[in-house]
């Protein structure tokens, strides 16, 4: 098990390095474009050239990447081109916001998808047909459009929840929860529609397996068959869905934060990209990759726990 864990962590590290390297190379291979973005479109060629030199963008890309990586190991992600604030301290204020949104959303996505997916697979009937229909619509409509719809409804007609803004968890937990209701809802609709549908498929697959039939003939009650045997076997594909959802979610929350004016990573990466504040952008990408990697490691561990075969492969 320890070896399994080490292997997963190692592959996560490799992924982190590959993704940051690819992103870094793509962005930094054009130093002039960055300098122009920073200075604005009216800057003269000389100003741009000077800026390139000042920011060290004239060095070979690979060298710049290794520098970045080396600094990262010392906990330094550089300073913002605009505020001269350390990127790490900018991130520190924003990470809790985004993590709140992502983790709460993931938790409810999982919970609701499993319940709905299992119910639809086992019961069939109207519940199943409703899920089929809703999942097409829910998965297709971009979640920021849903978010706008929610703001429209709650901000303009029923002021039940705050439409925008964020309250820190340790400042006022109840207000924190209230400020997350609409953003989480906006994420959930699409994520649940997608995952529940997939989980239903996984569950149906398992319920059609020979061993389920055989277990039935042993006199084991249906609820045990479903919750003890089928659910555990459907967990593997279910967890794969979850890890894909996480990647999707990390993109999705960027726009969601924008809509609900949550001061998180999403808003940061958007404005940083607009300004050409590359150190902040890179810090943001790193954070996203780390979240994806960590969730994947957890998913693999849980998978290894429920599915003995996964431990060997």
């Amino acid at each position: 098990m320890l070896q399994f864990l080490l292997r997963k962590i190692l592959s996560g590290l490799v992924l982190t390095i590959v993704v940051t390297a690819v992103t870094f190379m793509l962005i930094f291979n054009n130093g002039t474009a960055i300098a122009r973005q920073v200075l604005g479109q009216n800057a003269t060629a000389e100003q741009v050239a000077a800026k390139v030199q000042q920011l060290g963008l004239d060095q070979p890309v690979l060298l710049q990447y290794f520098k970045w990586l080396g600094n990262l190991l010392q906990g330094d992600l550089g300073v913002s081109y605009f505020t001269n604030e350390a990127v790490t301290s900018v991130l520190a204020t924003r990470i809790p916001v985004t993590l709140s949104l992502v983790l709460v959303s993931l938790f409810f996505t999982m919970l609701i998808s499993v319940i709905v997916g299992v119910a639809a697979a086992v019961r069939g009937g109207w519940l199943d047909s409703t899920l089929q229909f809703v999942s097409v619509a829910g998965a297709a409509i971009p979640n920021f459009v849903i978010a706008i719809g929610l703001v429209f409804m709650f901000a303009l007609t029923i002021p039940l929840f705050p439409a925008t803004g964020y309250v820190a968890f340790d400042y006022d937990t109840a207000a924190w929860a209230r400020s997350l209701v609409l953003p989480v809802l906006a994420v959930l609709i699409g994520a649940v529609a997608n995952s529940a549908q997939q989980f239903r498929g996984a569950m149906l697959d398992v319920l059609g397996q020979d061993y389920i039939r055989t277990l039935r003939t042993r006199g084991i009650p249906d609820r045990h068959i479903i919750f003890r045997h089928a659910l555990r076997n459907a967990a593997s594909p279910g967890l794969t869905i979850l890890s894909l959802q996480t990647i999707a979610l990390m993109g999705g929350v960027i726009v969601i934060e924008q809509v609900f004016a949550l001061p998180g990573m999403g808003v940061l990466i958007g404005s940083a990209a607009l300004q050409g504040d590359i150190p902040a952008v890179m810090g943001d990408v790193l954070f996203i990759v780390i979240v994806v990697v960590v969730v994947n490691i957890i998913v693999d561990l849980v998978n290894g726990w429920v599915n003995p075969k996964a431990r060997i492969s």
Partner: protein, 609 residues
Amino acid sequence: MSVENLTTPAAAVAAEEASTDKKSVLRLILKTPVGLASSIVLLAIVIFGASAPWLAPFDPGFTDLAQTNAPPFSGSFPLGGDASGRDILSRLMFATGSTLIAACVVLVVSLLLGASAGLVAGYYGGWFDSVASWVADVILALPGFALLIALYAVIGPNILVAMAVFGVLIAPSYFRLVRALVVNVRNELYVDAAKVSGLSDFRIISRHVLRAVRAPIIIQSSFVLGAGIGIQAGLEFLGLGDPTRPSWGGMLREAFNNIYLAGINVLWPALLVTVTILVFALLGNSIRDGLHAAGSRSHTLKAQALHQIQRDYTSSTPAPSRDAVTTAAQGGGADPHLSITDLVIGYPSSATTITEVVRGVNLDVQRGEIHGLVGESGSGKSQTAFSVLGILPKQALVLRGQVLYHGKNLLTDPGLQKSLLGKKIGYIPQEPMSNLDPTFTIGKQLVYGLRAVKDISRQQAKADLLKLLARVGINDPERTFNSYPHQISGGMAQRVLIAGAIAGDPEFIIADEPTTALDVTVQAEVLELLRELQRERQIGMILVTHNLGVVADICDRVSVMQHGRIVESNSAAELFASPQHEYTRMLLGATLDGSTLRDPLTSSPAQGA
């Protein structure tokens, strides 16, 4: 965003579907109401966008300050004016055109890259396959939307380039789809035949491979178009689009920032984005469902047809009652342990018709008797056996007949049937490895089963089961008990399943080809074991098999099934000595060599082909 969702199993379902030609894909879309409606809406949106340069009432940049935030249908602007006093309708039309073009860029880039790489990787394999698969995996692990935003710093406000990059990011979804399909086709016999007959790779690919991948690619493309539009609108909503040109996301952004003054302006672009993406999703789904329905053999009966059919069967004269041969041959006691009478099982073959797979089976099993049920695959023998256990597939319809266990009809009393499972009736399945739950140790799943039917402690159950495992010939019961199914051999697994079937001390067992999946030597041992257990415990048994050698080994009586009917039923000795039915003679002829018959029968019948 929904980038990554495209690679989840739902999209891959398409890979399993049969190939279809272009014409029939179009027909599939237009045949369903949803597909037809989606096509019409999509066509309307395309015309709406394409006609902008000619039909739009105003230039998208034209400003009339008097119309700032004007409500719809009020002034000279049909849908009102935006915060800068521009005509919303005209801007929507121009935005639609550019959105659709950008979506096509995504499609072309991802299709060209992904599909061609998938084609080569799937057809030729080798190093290219390994490298391309690895690259696809890496790209899939990238946080695509975040990366697109990050690249804005380099790309600048150029949505077409951004969408081309998105095309690259989404290309792995095509790659995986096409690669899987091509690998499948490549392994088909007709492709081998084409190779042998000397056709060039180019001919083979264009003739066989492309035809197989076309429909799945069309389905995938409709999802990719939808995703492209969603991503594009998202980017523009964040302000990462071209601010000088109207776009759906950009209009949403402006309207959203202005939501308290003119909330209604959010509605139009939101509606267009939603409807367009939905239309693509519905189109993809309707093609997929259409293909699925055309390719699958499972049907659902209409409620009305079901009632009609059930009425027909119950009212029709029951059973052209047991024919003379069967009744005479049944012999034995008047109170059989298990008695199946006039059993008819059917499956829907269309929305209004059914096909019978079991057509009026009569079968008596006496106490302590092993009754062989012999026939080819598809003869209905397993279906007959499953009906006793109540584990027929969901679609199966029991149309007539009774399954009497000690005189009580199980078919009309599913509660009773369930309560007998494990306690009175046991089941030994055919395929040992697929019949053990892979996620639990052997011991755990056996304990669950045993404790479901017997009120004993966990320790007691474990002790009993260890004894039982030793009894069924497992050398190291403790180790097997703690093993997972994938850690034991097929022969071991079959013994475990036998132990599982008899753990609750049943008095009747249904054994469905219990030795088919095993090696010949193990087969003999398992049969011997079954025979011993049956003698020890006086168990009645139905043994389903296609192997007359097995019957000769352990059965007391035999019923031969063909096309859902029992064509001959007799004691094993009689049947082997003088087979009455032509089909029985044929089966015997097919198995004569190599199988040793039981002692009294060594002077076996000389008939046979």
